[in-house]
Structure formats: structure tokens, C-alpha cells
């Protein structure tokens, strides 16, 4: 029996001169929900594809479900489920036909397929729409159907590539409830996403930028390790101007715009609150509210990305 469901060591993928994934290493324990975060083009999909046996790594190694992705890709595929970023079921087949097809391809008996059809329909809330063509389904339903098809054969490991992109918030919620349910059944799930609020739902996270791993750990750990300063949320009458004014202050560790609020990272909460008040007052910008907040993952990641960019530029 293996300890880790997924083990990745120095995984690298180059397309010509372009390095999409640069010596990435991480591990995922069984039953975990592992989040893979990063901007678009950071290398998330490429990594997932390598782990699924869809892409051949340029160098490095990985083990999924105990099978080597370089030498045993077909065995890997037998034990995983995969949901790709774009909807990749057959739009000109009905819900039922899609399930039946993939069930058949996975080698399930017809009795089992029937059972799974019932399960997927129930899970996805598609009762009454079994005979609808897949292309008539809207975003959220499509995603759930795709998820269902990915787990027809009850795999132990699930790879989800941006499963909720382009889906409404309510559906996103619902989808994550499903992921949690699956996780409770002991299934290991690796999710890539660029939605930082979803990152909070994961047991463990890894942040990728331009092909390289920047940070990893649980959400709590990340917040604790990387935000050692206070973050003040400031609501003003002119946020953009305020940001310009404060940005160059030497005691400002970091500053960013969150909607219309400013998040200002400072070393000393009380002293800097005063400083901010006076600076903004001098230009006539009014402060409606200023208080310390609990740092969110977004704060963490923005910080990390900024640090990494600086490191690269150097």
C-alpha cells in the first residue's frame, strides 16, 4: 500500500524553447482535496495532463495511484477520473447516451451502467432531462454531468481541471459540495482553479506561477507563514488616488485594490493608521472605514505572486 496518492518529483515539460512546467514537486495524500492554483497559462493544465498520462513529461517523474506516469500511463488511466477544462462530452448525444457510452468504454456491465446512470442523474439534478441533448444544458448542469461521467468507474483519484470556470456562483457552490461528498468517500481529488475563494475549500494547496511552484501548504499554513504583518482594509472616497498616495510610503509592505476597498499591509497597526489618516486628510480624501482584517488567501497569493515577479525580474 502506498502512502501518497500522487507523488510528483521535478516534473518538467518543455514545448520547444518554452518551459511550461519547471521542476515541479509535490505530494498528495489519500483522500485529500488538493488545490492547484495559478493564473491562466501558469502551467496547471499541462501538469494535470502529464499526471493523467495524456502528455509525456520532458523530464522528472511522477506516481499516480502507485503507477508511474512515464512507464505505465495506461494503468494510471484505469485508476483515475478526469474532467477537462472545456466541456468534452458529446453535445449531440443525450445525457443518458453520454453516460452509457463512457460507462461502456470503461468496461462497466450493463447492469452497473444502469445503476450509475441513476446515480449521475440524481447527483447532477438532471431528473427529467435524461433524454435532453447535452448541448441544451446550461453551464452548471454540463459541469455536473461531466463530473458524473468522470467517476462512472469509481476511480480512487480524480483530476479536475478548472471545473467551475464560467459557471454561476450558485452552481459553483453546489459543485464543491459534490467534491466534498466524494472526498468523504475517500477519493483523492486534485483540482486546478484560478478562483481563490475556492482555494479555501482545499485541504492542501500549491501555487504555481510561470511553470514554477511558489508555495504550498494548507490554507491556514499559507496565511500564517506569509502574512506576518497586519492588513488594514480602508474604504475611501477616492480609492485610486489614495492608492497612489500611499503606495510609495516606506512602511507600506504591500497595497492592492479589492473592489473599491484598499488592502494596505503595514508593520505597525496603530502607528500607521494615524499616518494613513493624516496623508489622506491632507489631500481631502475622506476615510469612511478603516479596520484590520483577517488576511484572505487572495491577499496571500497576491503577495506571493508579487514577490515571485520581483525575484524573476532580478
Amino acid at each position: 500500500m502506498f502512502e501518497y496518492a500522487i507523488e510528483v518529483h521535478d516534473l518538467t515539460k518543455k514545448f520547444g524553447h518554452f518551459t511550461a512546467v519547471d521542476h515541479v514537486s509535490f505530494t498528495v495524500s489519500r483522500g485529500e482535496i488538493f488545490g492547484f492554483l495559478g493564473a491562466n497559462g501558469a502551467g496547471k493544465s499541462t501538469t494535470i495532463r502529464m499526471l493523467c498520462g495524456l502528455l509525456e513529461p520532458t523530464s522528472g517523474s511522477g506516481k499516480v495511484g502507485g503507477y508511474d506516469i512515464n512507464s505505465e500511463p495506461e494503468l494510471v488511466k484505469k485508476s483515475i477520473g478526469y474532467m477537462s477544462q472545456r466541456f468534452s462530452l458529446y453535445e449531440d448525444l443525450t445525457v443518458e447516451e453520454n453516460i452509457r457510452f463512457f460507462g461502456g468504454v470503461y468496461g462497466l456491465s450493463s447492469g452497473k451502467i444502469k445503476e450509475r446512470i441513476g446515480w449521475v442523474v440524481g447527483m447532477a439534478g438532471l431528473q427529467g432531462r435524461e433524454k435532453s441533448l447535452a448541448k441544451t444544458l446550461s453551464g452548471g448542469w454540463k459541469q455536473r454531468l461531466a463530473l458524473g461521467c468522470a467517476v462512472l468507474h469509481e476511480p480512487r483519484i480524480l483530476f479536475l481541471d478548472e471545473p467551475t470556470s464560467g459557471v454561476d456562483p450558485v452552481s459553483r457552490r453546489r459543485f464543491w459540495e459534490l467534491i466534498n461528498e466524494l472526498s468523504e468517500q475517500g477519493i483523492t481529488i486534485l483540482v486546478t482553479t484560478h478562483y481563490l475563494d475556492e482555494a479555501e475549500y482545499c485541504n492542501d494547496l500549491t501555487l504555481i506561477n510561470a511553470g514554477r511552484l511558489i508555495a504550498s501548504g494548507s490554507p491556514k499554513q499559507l496565511k500564517a507563514n506569509h502574512i506576518t504583518y497586519s492588513i488594514l482594509e480602508v474604504e475611501t472616497t477616492n480609492p485610486v488616488a489614495a492608492m497612489d498616495l500611499l503606495r510609495n510610503q516606506p512602511w507600506v509592505i504591500e497595497i492592492s485594490l479589492f473592489g473599491t476597498y484598499l488592502h494596505v499591509g503595514v508593520d505597525d497597526e496603530e502607528r500607521r493608521k494615524e499616518a494613513i489618516r493624516s496623508i489622506l486628510a491632507s489631500t481631502g480624501i475622506q476615510i469612511r472605514r478603516m479596520e484590520r482584517i483577517v488576511p484572505s488567501l487572495e491577499d496571500v497569493f497576491l503577495r506571493l505572486l508579487e514577490q515571485d515577479s520581483k525575484k524573476r525580474a532580478a
Partner: protein, 375 residues
């Protein structure tokens, strides 16, 4: 095995839903064959001629009538000057001009030789060649009749001995070009349909992303390929029957050989064209690419080099060798052989074997090319 079954089911479901495509697969070959079977004719008749008769005697008119009565020529215009000739040929109103000199009948009466001029539009080389051939025959026959007349009047002259050919045409006694062309069109149409359908089969899934999903499953390459091809084999097979029926009963092209043999070899041919389409599918990234590739790399060269319209024997040696690589070439020989000549496998095996080899080779190549990896 069961995996293949599921793929076939899926393919048929999809096909059934794309009504237009489904209908086209059957209608298109039949309609094409019907339309083109009529058009593909090399029989030349009603050749438009301009006559410039400078003699204007009963003799010269009798001469002109030889052309008209042959059924090959039609006198479109009568000219009164040489300039008119230039214009007419240039404008394409006539293909040839016949110029009869002023002393035509006088010369003939005096047993002198008279010179008749024929001006032909060479821009359509084939028609010109054949038209001149007909004209030559007519003039020769007329010449002989004149000589015979003369000899009749002076029986002391000896009629020189001639070699007289008794011409017997086999397989196509009325020399109907349709009998030659229709089987060829049949082969062409069959190939286009089957190759087109399969060339898009895999590429489409590549383009819409479902191929990725399939590659993540335990499916094996040969299972996917067989599953995808089988429905098209069935459609292709039905098409074969349809077009053979049209050729036989609509165009009355005689089917002298064994129907079973024809069906069997047609099936073999369909397999090679399916393989070809499949191969195109594996080397293309988008449907557009696949179709352009099929079009320009295969259909067009095959059209010209397979012996369909242009005889291979007339091509430069180098190119003749090249045509051995074209599966259509073999099938055209087969189909014309079975229809018109009534030959059997004993004569056709040199055609069947290469088809067999080609089919196997291309299918194996496609399976090898298709690996369950992206990029």
C-alpha cells in the same frame, strides 16, 4: 470487444442526429453519378463547321453534303471571304473551316488533283484531333468513290487491290463512351464519399475536445479506430450497392462479370479509401486542414492520374510508375473489367492484391500513428 460495440452505437446515434449528413451520404453519390454519368462523354458529334465554297458547283455541294450526312458535322456558317473565317474560329462559333477552291469541280473532271483546306481550332486538342480524323475518313471515302466512278467509265483500267479491314469492337460494340466513363465515375464518387466521411471522423473529436476525454479512458487505439470505421464500412457498402444499381439499370452499362466478385472487390476498395481518410484524420489538427489535405493531396491527383479520364499508358514513364501508388487506379481497372469485359478473379488478381496490401498498410499506419497522447 464490448468497447467497440459502444463506440459503434455512439457513432450511429450521432449520425442519425445529423440528418443532413446522413442523407448526403446516400443521396450525393447517387445524384452525382446520375448527373455526371451523362456528362462524361467523349463522343464527338455535331461539330460546328464553317464552309467557304469558292467553287459553288453541284460537285462542291455534293462534297459538302458528305460532311453533313455523316452526322458528325453541322454546317454552322457559310462564309464569303477569308476574313470571316478568322473571326468565326476566334469567337469559337465554329471548330473548323472548310475551304473549297474555285477550280474544285473543274480539276476533278480533268483528273487533276485539287487542294481542299481545313482550318481547325487547336485549343481543344482532343476534339480537334478526333474531328480531323473524321474529316479525313470522309474525304478518303469520297476520294475512293471518285476513283471508282472513273474506273467504271473506263473498264479497261485495273482496279488496284486493297486491304479491307473488318473491324470488330469488343466489350463496347457501339463505342459508347458512357460505358467507359460511368464505371469510372462510380469509382470516383465512391472514393470521395468514403474518404470524406472518415477524414473528419477523428479530427472532429480532436477539435471539439472529446478525444482528450477518450484518451483518458482505458480504450485501446485499435478499438477506437475499428469502432469509428465500422459504421462507415456499412454506409460505404450501401453506397456501393446503390451506385452499382444506378450504373446497371439507369445507364444500362452491361454488367458481364460476377456480381459477387464486384461486391467483394468494391468492399475491398472501400476499405482502402476508408483507411486513407482515417490516415488524413490522424495527421490533421483541424477539420479544415483534414479536408484541404484530402482534397488537394488525394482527390485531385487521383482524378487525373488514376486512369479515370486520361489513359495511364499515355503518361510519361516516371509518372506511370507513380500511379502504382494510387489505389483508385486498380479499382478502375477492376470495375471496368467486371462490367464491360466480364473478367473474373483470374484476370483481376494483379489488381486485387495491391489493393489488399494498400488497405492493410494504411490501416496499420493509422493505428500506429494514433497514440493516446496529446501533443
Amino acid at each position: 470487444m464490448k468497447t467497440i460495440y459502444y463506440i459503434i452505437v455512439k457513432e450511429f446515434l450521432q449520425l442519425r442526429r445529423d440528418r443532413r449528413m446522413f442523407g448526403l451520404s446516400f443521396m450525393a453519390p447517387v445524384i452525382q453519378l446520375m448527373l455526371l454519368g451523362y456528362a462524361a462523354t467523349t463522343d464527338i458529334k455535331d461539330i460546328p463547321v464553317l464552309v467557304y465554297d469558292q467553287d459553288r458547283t453541284s460537285r462542291s455541294r455534293e462534297f459538302i453534303n458528305q460532311f453533313v450526312n455523316s452526322g458528325y458535322f453541322v454546317v454552322e456558317e457559310e462564309a464569303h471571304s477569308l476574313n470571316e473565317i478568322d473571326r468565326s474560329i476566334e469567337d469559337g462559333h465554329v471548330w473548323m473551316a472548310l475551304v473549297i477552291p474555285t477550280d474544285f469541280s473543274n480539276d476533278l473532271l480533268a483528273l487533276r488533283q485539287t487542294k481542299v483546306q481545313l482550318l481547325a481550332d487547336g485549343s481543344d486538342a482532343n476534339s480537334a484531333n478526333i474531328s480531323i480524323g473524321y474529316a479525313l475518313q470522309i474525304i478518303n471515302t469520297y476520294s475512293r468513290s471518285i476513283v471508282a466512278e472513273i474506273l467504271k467509265r473506263s473498264p479497261q483500267l485495273q482496279q488496284p487491290a486493297r486491304v479491307t479491314p473488318e473491324i470488330r469492337v469488343w466489350y463496347n460494340p457501339e463505342l459508347k463512351s458512357r460505358n467507359f466513363m460511368v464505371p469510372g465515375v462510380l469509382a470516383m464518387v465512391l472514393m470521395i464519399i468514403t474518404t470524406t466521411l472518415t477524414s473528419l471522423a477523428i479530427v472532429k473529436e480532436k477539435e471539439i475536445g472529446t478525444l482528450e476525454q477518450l484518451m483518458v479512458t482505458p480504450i485501446k487505439p485499435y478499438q477506437l479506430i475499428v469502432g469509428k470505421l465500422l459504421p462507415f464500412v456499412i454506409i460505404g457498402g450501401l453506397d456501393v450497392v446503390l451506385v452499382i444499381l444506378v450504373a446497371r439499370f439507369w445507364f444500362d452499362v452491361p454488367l458481364r462479370g460476377s456480381v459477387t466478385l464486384l461486391l467483394a472487390l468494391s468492399g475491398l476498395f472501400v476499405l482502402t479509401t476508408l483507411g486513407l481518410g482515417l490516415f488524413v484524420s490522424t495527421i490533421s489538427k483541424t477539420q479544415q486542414q483534414a479536408m484541404m489535405t484530402a482534397q488537394f493531396f488525394f482527390f485531385m491527383p487521383f482524378l487525373y492520374l488514376s486512369g479515370f479520364a486520361f489513359p495511364i499508358e499515355n503518361m510519361p514513364r516516371v509518372i506511370q510508375y507513380l500511379t502504382y501508388l494510387i489505389p483508385l487506379r486498380y479499382f478502375i481497372v477492376i470495375i471496368r473489367g467486371v462490367f464491360l469485359k466480364g473478367v473474373g478473379i483470374a484476370e483481376l488478381w494483379p489488381q486485387a492484391i495491391p489493393l489488399w496490401i494498400f488497405g492493410l498498410a494504411i490501416l496499420t499506419l493509422s493505428v500506429l500513428r494514433f497514440r493516446k497522447r496529446l501533443g
